[in-house]
């Protein structure tokens, strides 16, 4: 536990609507060691996004409440630390990539403007000083790292001028700007088509390996999991039902839910039998 970069213990989150309380997370346990690539899979609505938001501290407060549990980042308690420090961690120590590249970029500012601002405040929190020029150089550099062919042009573009794949790349670049140790990705690329998605995944994998980041990838695509992550957590209805190394889990799933999930994946070989779905419930 102490060796983990991030560890989540018995996390409970409730949502309140119409005076009714919904227990959404009912005791989540996660460990993310440094330099690891972890996947979080599970049915839609099982609480994956909520878990990620809880880690990032992005839950909307009066609506969602963390009712129990602990979270440690690098040994520091995330839930008890002062707000200011918590905010300071975002973007610098941990960063995240949003699911939909089409809606996650501000449509009325140029990419350069948005990235420079992010860098400026990350620098400020880390106590670094950089001139506006240097900041631009750094932004261009990161855009280059995400394989943009013409960073200068992207820098000056508005999001609408970029294709979906380019936008997703920009989002990755934003997350990498201040070299966080932990990167959380919520279903990256699902909004893109297969060929583009494949590229993005490859890019992420390369970057994570190059930089030695810890990656928490949320997805429902088991193919993606298999190709990018070494360890998997499977969630269902607010709890982690099973976890293990990717190879083991795919080869020998223990829980019924995991088995059903794996069985439901359509195979390229054409041997998925849809009759098995009933078993999943």
């Amino acid at each position: 536990m102490s060796s983990a970069l991030l560890s989540v213990r018995d996390l409970h989150v409730d949502f309140t609507t119409y005076n009714q309380t919904h227990k959404v997370l009912k005791g989540i346990n996660l460990d993310i060691p440094p330099h690891s690539q972890i996947a979080l899979v599970g049915e839609s609505g099982s609480g994956k996004t909520v878990t990620m938001k809880a880690i990032m501290g992005l839950l909307r407060q009066p609506l969602a409440r963390i009712t129990a549990g602990e979270m440690y980042y690098d040994g520091r308690d995330l839930l008890t630390m002062p707000d200011k420090e918590r905010v300071a961690l975002r973007g610098t120590a941990m960063s995240m990539i949003f699911q939909d590249p089409m809606t996650s970029l501000n449509p009325v500012f140029t990419i350069g403007d948005q990235m420079r601002t992010i860098l400026k405040y990350a620098d400020r929190r880390l106590g670094r000083t950089r001139s506006a020029r240097e900041r631009k150089v750094r932004v261009l550099e990161v855009l280059g790292q995400v394989r943009m062919r013409d960073p200068e042009r992207v820098f000056q573009s508005y999001p609408i001028m970029l294709s979906g794949g380019m936008r997703q790349r920009v989002l990755i670049a934003m997350a990498l700007l201040s070299e966080p140790k932990l990167l959380i990705a919520d279903e990256p690329g699902t909004a893109l088509d297969v060929t583009t998605q494949a590229q993005i995944l490859k890019l992420m994998k390369d970057l994570v390996e190059e930089r030695g980041l810890a990656l928490l990838m949320i997805t429902h695509n088991l193919g993606v999991v298999r190709e990018t992550c070494s360890y998997v957590y499977v969630m269902n209805k607010g709890v982690v039902v099973e976890h293990g190394s990717t190879a083991d889990l795919f080869a020998a799933p223990q829980e019924d839910y995991t088995k059903a999930l794996i069985a439901a994946v359509p195979r390229l070989t054409g041997e998925t039998r849809f009759g098995t779905v009933e078993a999943m419930r």
């Binding site: 609507t17 119409y18 005076n19 009714q20 919904h22």
Partner: protein, 295 residues
Amino acid sequence: MAHLSELAAEPQRLSNAYQNWYRFSRNPSAVIGTAIVIICILTAIFAPLITPYPEHVGAVVNFRERHLPPSADYWFGTDNVGRDIFTRVVFGMRISLLLALVVLATAVPVGTVLGLLAGYYGGWVEIVIMRFTDIALAIPGLVMVMAVAAVLSPDLLTSMIAIAALWWTWHARLIYSITRQTRVQDYIEAAETLGASKFHILFREILPNCVSALAVKTSLDAGFVILIGSTLSFLGLGIQPPTPDLGTMVASGAAFLPSYWWESVLPGCAILFVSLGFNLLGDGLRDMFDVEDVR
């Protein structure tokens, strides 16, 4: 059975009506707004019963008691010919509400239908309707109203005609822009492929998407219509005396500011009260119709 287990997982279901009511009743502004509007309407209906001097609505003059400040006898004081302002405010509420009701009851449907047609059909229909709306919007409303009031003799009916003659343009604009956004949605095409009639698409599919904006706009308008009446009166084109309406009272009382402040400020407060009610109600309705905003 698959669906049984799904049912079991589902928390106790709230009916839609109950959800709406819940949202509405949890919203303090909506509740206060409704209360105010109901009070105003009841007051207007039962005006002769509530007021101490119902005869002061007509041509009663009592120059010995003119310009009296609010007192136990005259709760809101008296005006320049010695009539009880409270009585006139209550009866004025009647006229003002009627004015708002009639104007909006004509302007809203007209504007809505034209906006729907222009937004849905596009092409020439759109050009004709929307250019005409543009033209009407470019005429300073007051000019139009004054012109109409000057052509016909200035009275309640004229005021209504004049105000309604321009008011629909705002609704047409609003509905038009919502319709244009809605028209291209998949669910409208879906309805078309399912064989729905144009009427169905316009009024059952698109219109419901306009209601919350419409409710807000209309409730805001109620206050504005009453106000326009007052500006008309200020320019001397309002309702004929001795009939009281709130706007006219504010306007004619303004001549006595600040010494006999109650003669315009108290009827002004009445307008504020009515408008506040409608505004709060409008906000509440918006929250209620906003099915996706869960609080």
